[in-house]
Amino acid sequence: MSTTRNIRVDYIARTEGDGAFDVLIDSNGIVKKASWNVWEPPRFFEAFLIGRKAEEIPEFVQRICGICPHSHHIASLRAIERAMDVKVSNQTVLLRELLHYSDWIMSHSLHIYYLAAPDFLGYESVIAMAGNSDLLPIVENALKIKRLGNDMIVVLSGQEIQNKTSVIGGFTSVPSVTDLRKLQDQLKKMKEFAYDTVKLTNTLASQSPYKDLSRRCEHVALQDVGKYAINEGRLVSTMGLDVPEWDYPKYMIEKHVPECNCKHSIIKDRDSFLVGPLARVNLNFNTLSIDAQKAAKEIGFTTPCYNPFMSIVARSIELVHAIDASIALIDEIGTPVFERPRFSYKAGKSFAATEAPRGTCCHGGQIDKYGVVKKWDIVAPTARNVYNLNKDFEEFIPKLLDLSDEDLTLKCEVMIRNYDPCQSCATHSLKVRLQRE
């Protein structure tokens, strides 16, 4: 006897943007179809950037995403600077790193506490969590740590969301040493909470059924020399990829999939791959801050870890690292001095990548001698992960068929949220539609 069950969820809540997912399970419990469908038209950044000036690109592309603007911004800045042969000072390099770590602190705490934790704790939202007096202290600290990330961004770039000060060649204004020291004090105060976050998320992700679900796939991330990669590095993977970041178009291939506005990504001559915190922690564990490594070891986290539900733990480990790295960067920056950003137009072509909170973010293109953009390529991390997410579904759903429709739908949502998807980046739309024949 075959049973037919249809489950339809119009929006996946607590992700950035909204989308659709179709799952079709036949009567033998085999997943016939698992595809992430994006209905909403994209905003065509790659098209309308053509004909704009080089200095406008970083201003525009950060507006791809309100949650990880700086990842897009810095990747495009570096690609343009490499194409036009613009050199930046060491202070600019350090300030950009600090800016990006601020974004990590904001985005990681937003994801862990606002978006993901309610799943594991059985609440519909962080707002509902705040209604429980036992959880209220955690929610209050979560608000504080996210605020800290925001405060850092405000000090460095003027406003929480879109950057106002960072331009080709440097910064139009630099923060005062007093403001940086104040942030440093705050960072030191919040570190303990970040440390506890690792333990908390590990407890959550170690629940059944999550703890037994793992799937081996290629993990890809940037790798820097002597430090945890965030703004630059070589592209490496758990299956031996090791190429300069500007060669990404040769090795990370995109293909258009019918019925989906979001392109699917594979590694050349191989298959789907994963980018994001789990891939980074797996590939770059030794360059995490000492305390981040200690926090990981205390909970028994071992690399390589192929359980996507452990992504939230990897994100927490990175939260500790981001705080440590920011504290060290503020020391290294010392008293920032204003340096007038300078550049001149030059014809050129280049590509660059950064590590966005949710994975490797790639930008690049071609500029003519008048500074007019001829071609621009953008591949956001969520676009990289879509195909891999589909494979997670194919692997995990058959193992969860005993669950009720309601519970299975929630577990599907958790699988999606593992990737901290940013669907404005990948273009929009995510709907879960579960069909059982």
């Binding site: 943007g17 909204d18 909403e40 309308f48 004909g51 995403c65 949650i67 606002y114 608000l143 258009h256």
Partner: protein, 259 residues
């Protein structure tokens, strides 16, 4: 009266304005105490249908499906707020309206298989529906957002004055970027409310809040060409950015149809 039911809707956008609505941590829990957020997909799993008292709409309309959604939003919300520059004027995605390519050409630049892609020129939401209040800016200004919420709770009109950014620059005693630094600053034609954020940080105003109430775009375009040395195409790019759809800013472009 019970707590007003508030909904947050997202059309084509970056979610930055919704995030700004959450970026009020010190008083977030207080705000949640006075309004009932019944629909906010990015923040909650349990979202309820309309009618709503206040609907914040983020993003621009770029597809027929979104247009249907927008019309439904208008029917369900007593008050509709255009939240952010994309919803107010079309914002950054509206640049594609002026890039000199047809809709199909734009699509073909990004995708190889076009049969299932349905996109249309990008406009702000008041091109299609009546809008009660506007929160300008890319992203919105937090304080304006709170002023609007407080005003709506009290049943009074929020007092937003859209004089030019220059007014706020003068109050801050900033050195003029246009006159003294010869930077192509859009402050004199752009609506204030941001506290002259960019010019105060040494960055020229890019016009993200759209035209000021006394916008004289033709005059600024002339200054850009004569004093700053911008080409006609550069001037067109300046005005065809966040609010190129507005008649005020399109005057700055002159006879140049696109850059």
């Amino acid at each position: 009266m019970g707590k007003p039911k508030v909904a947050f809707f997202k059309l084509s956008s970056c979610a930055g304005c919704q995030l700004t609505a959450l970026n009020i941590e010190p008083i977030l829990l207080d705000v949640l105490g006075v309004v009932d957020i019944t629909y906010f997909v990015m923040a909650k799993r349990e979202n309820h249908g309309g009618p709503y008292d206040i609907g914040f709409v983020e993003g621009a309309v770029t597809s027929p499906r979104e247009l249907e959604e927008l019309k439904k939003i208008r029917e369900e919300c007593s008050v509709v707020v255009a939240m952010g520059t994309c919803a107010c004027f079309g914002g950054i995605p509206s640049i594609k309206n002026f890039c000199g390519m047809t809709q199909k050409e734009v699509e073909a630049k990004v995708y190889t298989e076009l049969w299932d892609i349905k996109s249309m020129p990008v406009y702000g939401i008041d091109y299609y529906i009546d809008v009660d209040y506007y929160l300008r800016g890319c992203p919105i200004d937090k304080n304006e957002y709170l002023i609007l919420i407080k005003s709506l709770l009290k049943g009074i009109n929020p007092l937003f004055r859209f004089h030019s950014v220059c007014n706020e620059c003068i109050l801050k005693e900033n050195v003029c970027l246009l006159i003294h630094k010869k930077k192509a600053c859009m402050g004199s034609v752009t609506a204030s409310g941001c506290g002259a954020l960019c010019p105060s940080l040494g960055r020229e105003c890019e016009g993200c809040r759209g035209p000021a109430s006394d916008c004289n775009a033709e005059s600024l375009a002339e200054v850009f060409m004569k004093d700053i040395g911008l080409s006609k195409a550069d001037v067109a790019r300046k005005f065809l950015k966040y609010a190129g759809n507005t008649p005020e800013f399109s005057k700055g472009v002159g006879h140049y149809e696109h850059y």
